[in-house]
C-alpha cells in the first residue's frame, strides 16, 4: 500500500509553499481519466488542492525537469520515489542542476502502474483503475470490473525494482526501504542464452517498430545534452527517417552507449515508447555487462561516483573475454 497519501504530500507542500521555503512544486496533475496523470508545476496550495494527485499512476520521474526548474528564481519542491532519486543523484554528479535550489522529499514506493500496462490488461474501454489492498481493480465500459493481484501486474520496471531506497532527499516521508534483489537481469540473460540468429530475429522485430519519435530519449534523465547528436546535422548521424532497419539500430545502440554507465535503470524509456519496444533491455545489457566485468556499479547510487566508461582498471578483461561471457 502507498503508506504516504496524497494528503500527506499536500500538507507538506502547502506548508513549504506557505513558509516561502519553496516557490514551486513539481507534482502530478490529474487528468481526464485515472491513468493520464501529467507532470506539472504548482505554484500555490490552491492549485495543488484542485489538481494535485498522488496515486498508482504517479509514476513519472521528475528529476529531469529539475534542469529547467532550477534555472528559475526560488526553490523547487520535488517528490522523489526511490528510482527517481538515482536519476537525481546522477544529474547532480553531472552538474546538471543546482542542488541548493531544490527541496527534495523522498517518498517510499512499492510499484507504480502506467497507462500502457493497465490498458494491456483491459484493452477495451478502460474507465479507471485503482488499488485496493493487494489488488488492482480495473473498471471497464463493456466488461465490468477486473480484479487482479497488484504486484504481479506491475510494469516490468516495477516488477524488477532494483531499489526501494531513496538515495537523495532533504526529508523522507514514510519509511525508507533498501536495495532489493531485482532479478532485473534475468531477461537479459535469457536473450544472451539464445543463439545469435534468434537474438537478431528478436531485436529485428522489436527495433523495426521504432518510429523515431524520440520519446525514449526525451524522457530519459540521462539524455540531457544541450543538443543531441541525432538532432545535430554536424554530427553526421542526424536523421529523422526510419530506413532499412539500420537507422533504428544505430539510434538505439548509440543512445544506449551514450547512457551506458550513466543510466539509472528508471525504466522511463520503455514506459513511454509508443511502440512498446523493451528498450530497458538494451540499457540493462550494459549495466549487466558493467557489473560482471568491472564490478557492481549503480549509476546514481552515490553522488559524484565516476561512471564506469570514464574509468578503468589495468586488469580489466579484454573485449574478446567480455564477448565470450555475454554470449553463452
Amino acid at each position: 500500500m502507498q503508506t504516504v497519501t496524497r494528503e500527506t504530500l499536500l500538507d507538506k507542500a502547502s506548508a513549504l509553499l506557505a513558509s516561502g521555503e519553496v516557490s514551486r512544486v513539481l507534482g502530478w496533475k490529474k487528468g481526464e481519466f485515472a491513468y493520464d496523470v501529467t507532470p506539472a508545476v504548482f505554484e500555490s496550495a490552491e492549485e495543488m488542492e484542485k489538481d494535485f494527485v498522488y496515486d498508482i499512476f504517479s509514476g513519472a520521474n521528475f528529476s529531469k525537469y529539475l534542469i529547467k526548474e532550477t534555472a528559475k528564481e526560488g526553490k523547487v519542491l520535488v517528490f522523489l520515489k526511490p528510482c527517481d532519486s538515482y536519476s537525481f543523484n546522477q544529474l547532480l554528479t553531472e552538474h546538471r542542476f543546482d542542488r541548493e535550489k531544490v527541496y527534495a522529499i523522498g517518498i517510499p514506493c512499492d510499484g507504480m502502474m502506467d497507462a500502457s500496462t493497465v490498458k494491456a490488461l483491459a484493452p477495451e474501454g478502460l474507465v479507471s483503475a485503482e488499488r485496493d489492498g493487494d489488488n488492482l481493480v480495473i473498471h471497464t465500459l463493456y466488461d465490468g470490473d477486473k480484479i487482479l493481484p497488484y504486484a504481479d501486474n506491475l510494469p516490468d520496471r516495477c516488477r524488477h525494482c532494483k531499489s526501494k531506497k531513496v538515495v537523495a532527499y532533504d526529508e523522507m516521508l514514510g519509511e525508507n526501504g533498501d536495495v532489493v534483489d531485482s532479478h532485473r537481469f534475468d531477461e537479459v540473460a535469457e536473450l544472451e542464452a539464445m543463439s545469435e540468429d534468434a537474438r537478431f530475429a528478436f531485436w529485428q522485430n522489436e527495433l523495426s517498430r521504432c518510429i523515431r519519435c524520440n520519446a525514449c530519449r526525451d524522457v530519459c534523465p540521462a539524455c540531457t545534452c544541450e543538443k543531441c547528436v541525432f538532432d545535430n546535422p554536424k554530427s553526421g548521424v542526424e536523421n529523422k527517417a526510419i530506413s532499412d532497419s539500420y537507422e533504428e539500430k544505430m539510434f538505439h545502440i548509440i543512445r544506449a552507449f551514450h547512457v551506458a554507465g550513466r543510466c539509472t535503470d528508471c525504466g522511463e524509456c520503455s514506459r513511454v515508447c509508443p511502440q512498446n519496444i523493451p528498450l530497458h533491455l538494451l540499457n540493462r545489457k550494459f549495466i549487466y555487462d558493467i557489473d560482471r566485468n568491472y564490478g557492481d556499479y549503480m549509476a546514481g547510487a552515490e553522488e559524484g561516483s565516476r561512471a564506469p566508461l570514464v574509468n578503468y582498471k589495468t586488469e580489466d578483461p579484454e573485449a574478446a573475454d567480455v564477448l565470450e561471457r555475454g554470449d553463452k
Partner: protein, 152 residues
Amino acid sequence: MQVNESNIVANEEFRPKIVAFCCNWCSYAGADLAGNNRLAYPADIKIIRVPCSCRVNPMFILRAFQRGADGVILCGCHPGDCHYTSGNYYTRRRMAMLFSMLNYLGIEKERTRVEWVSAAEGAKFAATMQDFAEKVKALGPNKRLEDLRCKQ
C-alpha cells in the same frame, strides 16, 4: 585494364570490406613494420590512422558497417603501453561494451575485434589481419547491420 579485371574477380568471389582503426604510435607503426618486412596480408584490410585507439567513436564503427564494411578491427598499444598512458584502457572498456551490445543484437561477434599490436609486432599485425579477414570472409557479407541504401 587490369583494375577492371580484378573487379570482375570481386564479383565472382566474396571479398570482405574491412576497416582497421590503428593508433598512430603502436599499431599503425606495427602495420608499417609489416610493410617494411614485406609481410603480406589481404588487401581487403584498409587502415585508418587515429592518434590513439581511444579516439575511435562507436559511431565510426557503426558507420563503417552502414557503409558496407563486413568487419571492423581496432588496434592499439598494449595495455600499459599507451602513448597517452590511459587511452587504450578506455578503449578496452568502450569496445568491450559496444561489441558485446552488437552481439546481443545478433550481430556476429567475429565481425568485430580489438587487438593490441605494438610497433615491434609487424608479424603479429600481418597475422592478425590475415586471421581476421579469413573469419570475416567465412561469415559472408554483413547483412545484420547494413543499410541497403548504401549498397545500391
